[in-house]
């Protein structure tokens, strides 16, 4: 038994140990491999279902601190067992199906919501050899599985036979479906830079974090992912003060809890995906030799992202629906299209053998240029809107506004 392997390849070590055990008691080799796979699946899936219990406690404590309160601190050390107590309470609550609900859709929705989030974790690399499975289309898999969550919310809202829930489902269509477009487009940028859709390949390609070579794509990905989770400032689909609780208004007991598990795990998944795609995932000093260190680096980065999601939730008020749609279709989508164009053009112009820092620097400059163009267009349109407003009040302001519009593009190259 080689215990140094435990440090360099813990999964392989445990797998070898278990295979030895299973074949020792007379199970054929292929069957043992299947058993191992099932064990692996159960470990990752149960991690995803139990981890939100911790996340909910974490978030409640952090938000409480930000709002100058204590948060849950009675049940267990520092209130750690509070969520478990809540889950046990919800387990003994009555499961109500409202009259006239579409039974099948109503019951499938909470399960589907959790499936959508948990399945993402099948391809998340915790370290270079601690990963569920490293499929070569990881990014596409995440996009396709992640959008099942939207479907779950739509199903739940529609099947509840409740007008508030139906309004929540409508808003889901407008919001979650819209924000998927900039999310996919900005996800394209790390895929282009890494030339692979495999999650581990994307992490390996980050000699320099993609946050440096694609800052605009990183920001857009983060913002639209937060909108995908559907929490403040983008919590229109469950706005308590407008449509009571939106899509999960009729749910009770464990079904309600499952929507909660899905939401919190999704919020953490946003942090984890940002860490993998833009913050270098498990990369760090000695992470290649000791994968456990890689897990620690990855978790630290993921929690940093998650903390930022919580910070947004505690800071910003809810956004109005027309502002929300304008932000998506008139700002994030065009800018992410621009980010893709700038990235492919800049990356093709860089010579092949260039040093990673040189490459990142050029891409960073391309992003700066894109940012400057965006800022210039935005300030131009803001100026035009201001002048149009003034033109409404004064008589000849409109003419002046038209002149400024003509002059602006002519001046642009001179700057």
């Amino acid at each position: 038994m080689d215990f140094s392997q435990l440090l360099s390849d813990p999964i392989g070590f445990i797998a070898g140990l278990l295979t030895g055990l299973l074949t020792g008691i007379g199970i054929p080799e292929p069957a043992a491999r299947v058993v191992l796979m099932v064990i692996g699946v159960i470990v990752v899936a149960s991690f995803c279902l139990v981890f939100p219990l911790f996340l909910i406690w974490f978030e409640r404590r952090i938000v409480a601190r930000m709002q100058d309160r204590m948060g849950p601190n009675r049940v267990g050390p520092q209130g750690l067992l509070q969520t478990i107590a809540d889950a046990l309470k919800l387990l003994t609550k009555e499961d109500i199906t409202p009259i006239g609900a579409d039974k099948i859709a109503y019951n499938i929705a909470p399960v589907l919501a959790v499936v959508a989030v948990i399945s993402i974790w099948a391809v998340i690399p915790f370290a270079h050899n601690i990963v569920g499975t490293d499929v070569n289309v990881g990014a596409l898999y995440i996009v396709s599985v992640g959008s099942l969550g939207t479907l779950a919310i739509m199903l739940g809202g529609w099947a509840s036979n409740n007008k508030y829930a139906l309004l929540g489902a409508f808003r889901t269509v407008a919001q979650l479906v819209s924000y998927e477009v900039p999310m996919i487009l900005s996800l394209l940028v790390p895929v282009i830079l890494a030339r692979s859709m495999g999650m581990n390949d994307i992490v390996r390609a980050q000699e320099v974090w993609f946050l440096v070579s694609a800052p605009i794509a990183a920001l857009i990905f983060f913002a639209s992912s937060v909108a995908e989770v559907g929490r403040t400032p983008f919590d229109l689909l469950e706005a308590e003060s407008e449509i009571v609780a939106g899509f999960h208004i009729e749910y009770s007991g464990m079904k309600f809890a499952m929507f909660f598990v899905a939401e919190f795990m999704h919020a953490f998944t946003v942090g984890a995906l940002t860490a993998i795609l833009f913050l270098g995932g498990w990369r760090g000093p000695f992470a290649e030799q000791y994968p456990i260190l890689g897990v620690i680096y990855f978790m630290l980065k993921a929690f940093a992202g998650y903390f930022f999601v919580i910070l947004l939730r505690a800071t910003l008020p809810r956004i109005r629906i027309d502002h929300m749609l304008d932000l998506n279709w008139k700002f994030l989508t065009p800018v992410s299209l621009g980010a893709v164009v700038f990235t492919i053009v800049a990356d093709k112009l860089i010579p092949l053998g260039a040093a990673p820092w040189f490459r990142a620097g050029v891409l960073f400059l391309a992003n700066l240029l894109l940012g400057w163009i965006t800022f210039w267009l935005l300030s131009g349109s803001a100026r035009r809107m201001r002048q149009a407003e003034e033109g409404g009040e004064a008589g000849h302001g409109e003419e002046h506004g038209g002149q400024a519009e003509e002059h602006a593009p002519a001046h642009a190259p001179a700057h």
Partner: protein
Amino acid sequence: MLNDWAFIGLFLIMAAIFPGAPIVLNSLIFGPKKSNPVKNSAYECGIETVGDTWVQFKVQYYIFALVFVVFDVETVFLFPFAVAFGQVGLFAVVEVVFFILILAAALVYAWRKGALQWV
């Protein structure tokens, strides 16, 4: 390769069983089963719901969903290009830039038509 997808298939099954089990436990074993018509009625403001719930919805939502379909399908075409990016020449890059410009033109068209205007 096949092993990877077997893992994901197993994972999807497990991911459905794990949240399904507590729901079944709750509704069949632990939860009380004392339903009555008032408890099961739709939650609104205390008065019974007027009319059908599944009403006609605003066409605006439908338009946004349509614009989304256009973009979603077209971005899927960009993913294979992104993977092959290392092997393609400058000409293919120019072609993709044109493809994205056509996408952008679709966005501008929808914008000008007022499809993105919330009314």
